[in-house]
Amino acid sequence: MNATSMTVSGARLEWNLPDRGRVAMQCLIAAEAAIFTIFVVAYVFYLGKSLTGPMPKDVLSVPIVYTVCLLSSSLTIHFAAKHLRRGGVLSFGVLWLATITLGAAFLYGTGTEWYRLIYKEGFTIGTNLFGTTYYSLVGLHGFHVVVGLLSLSTVMVFTLTGRVRSEHAERIEVLSLYWHFVDVVWVVVFTVVYVIGR
């Protein structure tokens, strides 16, 4: 017996399976979500348990502008992918660059906030429980923004060298799933750290 005989001749089957890149990205997002859940649980669990100051309300200010930057980058990346699918490589490139700029602006915001906290307030990861959980959670999210920006920039390089075409729209959408995830995580982190935790 050999494998050829496995094929039922003449049978025409409708056979559509999900895209493997999309499934893998969804799995990765599930894994990342589990990691963030643990850090968020730790943050909430340790709220108000610090033995020494400062407390969140003493040092944290709400980063509204940079939050708007990051969240609006979800819109730009969505429309970028949409334009690419329709074949508009130029408008894709412009929107993609806008996404990178907005993400970088957010990172700059985190950077200035941390600079202020560390150099002006003298508040570090070892100061108290709040410092430990705050820098870990916000830092973990920031790390994901950095990874996202590196991936987006790779695509940008390929766009500028003219290698990105509309048949890559599926892959671009898979990558944009990750970026949307990073944004959604920020909504959770923002709520926990700056709304509930303050």
């Binding site: 039922v8 089957l13 893998a24 799995c27 894994a31 033995l51 429980l129």
Partner: protein, 557 residues
């Protein structure tokens, strides 16, 4: 790759130098080669962790023994547990999943071959990192070498204060690195099963092996990630001055327990679901009947997957979590016995009225049924919180989970080894040596782990390096240690059988068991491309349909 496979066998094998053959193995992205690498890697670590277990048991053979020091004893049980879970059982299960899933679903390879290779090497280097602690961990502190904090590494033992040197760091990094590998493999398994099935193989027509591994991979994604998060926190505590588990700064030691067991309990099901998968393939073939209650088996598996995420704190009944929390975890833990029991009944019903052939794989799977049932029953006993208050952290617990892992998972694994060895190597194993392995090992297993329950009931705590004579523990410990030597002989017979059969065994042919799943339709060992043309299936047992065209399965499904 493809040119090698197309060349006439025997013409070019002799001419290629060893270095080039080894290079093929190191640089491979082929799911079959990676599967075999996983399995060989796990067998090497099985020997290492087995020797560690023997050292532990020799130390405990009689009271006031001084075979090893208390410090070395701590390192031995830590390394034994960590190695067995992360570097023996998980890799060997990933190895079988890697090798078999693409073949069973009629695919050319896994969904992401290079991610597959990356994941294997992450796991492999994770294991090397753990054992590098033996030479690299003392640092300048004159501290101990191997990790000695126990496999669940409770805080504050892992803080810089109590764990100087780098042994704990090696433990953290080894698990972190191999954790990335595990998550990568799990993502790959899910993507392969959902996106690579051959035409006609709907989810409801997949072999149960694929179903169980799909749920296993989902659990890895959701359970290993919390461990990764907890390890990152521990690193922050140890190196950046964080206070997550630092009780003096208001941190909590109990939250480490929660984080660890949120990983730790689903992990048990990560290990046991593939064992269920092996049994679900072997029992029907050797009973000459299709599996009983396919859809119920799938439903029970999904149920186990869900419930297993909500039982973790039954590891913590002795911590003092309060009546409400305890009650929740008592009930959820008892509930998980229901789908597991359903599975046992389904396997029994598959055997019932079948024409059972007790070849070596079937012997191991039959023993699995009885032993896994007994292990489950002590599990139900331990799910009762007041019972755990009495026996938590005693040898009763050690006996319970070794009954699960050795009596359940390892027996199913041995069955899988014998069942698929002809497919992977192209050679038949020696049935005589296989039966010898089974009988020697089962005697050793029962000597060790049946009798281990008793010193536990008599109050012997786990992780003590020695004990006073005259507490009624002496005889039991003696018997337990004697059993270990039987098991060691069994393992050596097993390895000898694999090696001897690989070199001298008879050719197996493509389908030695007259089986029904797709992997038996291609050559043994399968060519690099798996199938000459893409299979199309119409039922759960495509090879049955092929062999019995007058009475195909799809008439009955």
């Amino acid at each position: 790759m493809s040119t090698d496979a197309l060349a006439l066998p025997g013409t070019e094998l002799a001419s290629r130098p060893l270095v080039s053959k080894l290079h093929d193995w190191v640089a491979t992205v082929d799911h079959k080669k990676l599967g075999i690498l996983y399995i060989i890697y796990a067998l090497v670590f099985l020997l290492i962790a087995g020797v560690e277990a023997m050292i532990i048991r020799i130390q405990l053979i009689r009271p006031h023994n001084d075979f090893i020091s208390p410090q070395v004893f701590n390192r031995m049980f830590t390394m034994h547990g960590t190695t067995m879970i992360f570097f023996v059982v998980m890799p060997v299960l990933f190895g079988f999943a890697n090798y078999l899933i693409p073949l069973m679903i009629g695919a050319r390879d896994m969904a992401f071959p290079r991610l597959n290779a990356f994941s294997f090497w992450m796991t492999a280097f994770g294991g090397l990192l753990l054992y590098f602690s033996l030479v690299g961990a003392n640092g300048l502190y004159g501290a101990g070498n191997a990790p000695d904090v126990g496999w669940f590494a409770y805080a504050p033992l892992t803080s810089q204060t109590f764990s100087i040197g780098h042994s704990t760091d090696f433990w953290i990094l080894a698990l972190l690195v191999s954790g990335f590998g595990s998550i990568g493999t799990a993502i790959n398994i899910v993507a392969t099963i959902l996106c690579m099935r051959c035409p006609g193989m709907t989810l409801a027509k997949m072999p149960l092996f694929a179903w169980l591994n799909l749920i296993m991979a989902g659990l890895v994604i959701l359970a290993v990630s919390p461990l990764t998060a907890a390890q990152i926190m521990l690193l922050i505590d140890r190196y950046l001055g964080g206070h997550f588990f630092d009780t003096q700064a208001g941190g909590s030691a109990v939250i480490w327990m929660h984080f660890f067991w949120i990983f730790g309990h689903p992990e048990v099901y990560v290990l046991v679901l593939p064992a269920f998968a092996f049994v679900s393939e072997v029992i029907p073939v050797f009973s000459r009947k299709p599996i009983f209650g396919y859809s119920v088996m799938v439903a029970a598996t999904v149920a186990i997957g869900f419930i297993s995420m909500s039982v973790w704190a039954h590891h913590m009944f002795t911590v003092g979590m309060g009546a409400n929390v305890n009650t929740f975890f008592v009930i959820s833990t008892m509930a998980i016995a229901v789908p597991t029991g359903i599975k046992i009944f389904n396997w029994l019903a598959t055997m019932w009225g079948g024409k059972i052939e007790f070849k070596t794989p079937m012997l191991f799977c039959t023993a699995f049924l009885f032993q896994f049932l007994a292990a489950g029953l002590t599990g139900v006993m331990l799910s009762v919180a007041p019972f755990t208050w009495q026996l938590g952290n005693s040898y009763f617990v050690v006996a319970h989970f070794h009954y699960v892992i050795v009596g359940g998972i390892l027996f199913a694994l041995f069955g899988a080894f014998y069942y698929w060895f002809p497919k992977m190597s192209g050679k038949m194993y020696s049935e005589t040596l296989g039966k010898l392995h089974f009988w020697v090992f089962i005697v050793g297993f029962h000597l060790t782990f049946d009798f281990m329950h008793i010193p536990g009931l008599l109050g012997m705590p786990r992780r003590i390096y020695t004990y006073e004579p005259g507490r009624g523990w002496d005889t039991w410990n003696f018997i337990v240690t004697i059993g270990v030597f039987f098991q060691a002989v069994g393992i050596l017979v097993f390895l000898g059988n694999l090696i001897w059969s690989y070199l001298r065994g008879k050719a197996a042919g493509s389908d030695p068991w007259d089986a029904w799943t797709l992997e038996w339709s291609t050559n043994s060992p399968p060519p690099a491309y798996n199938f000459a043309s893409r299979p199309v299936v119409k039922s759960r047992r495509p090879l049955w349909d092929l062999k019995h065209p007058a009475d195909p399965d799809w008439n009955y499904e």
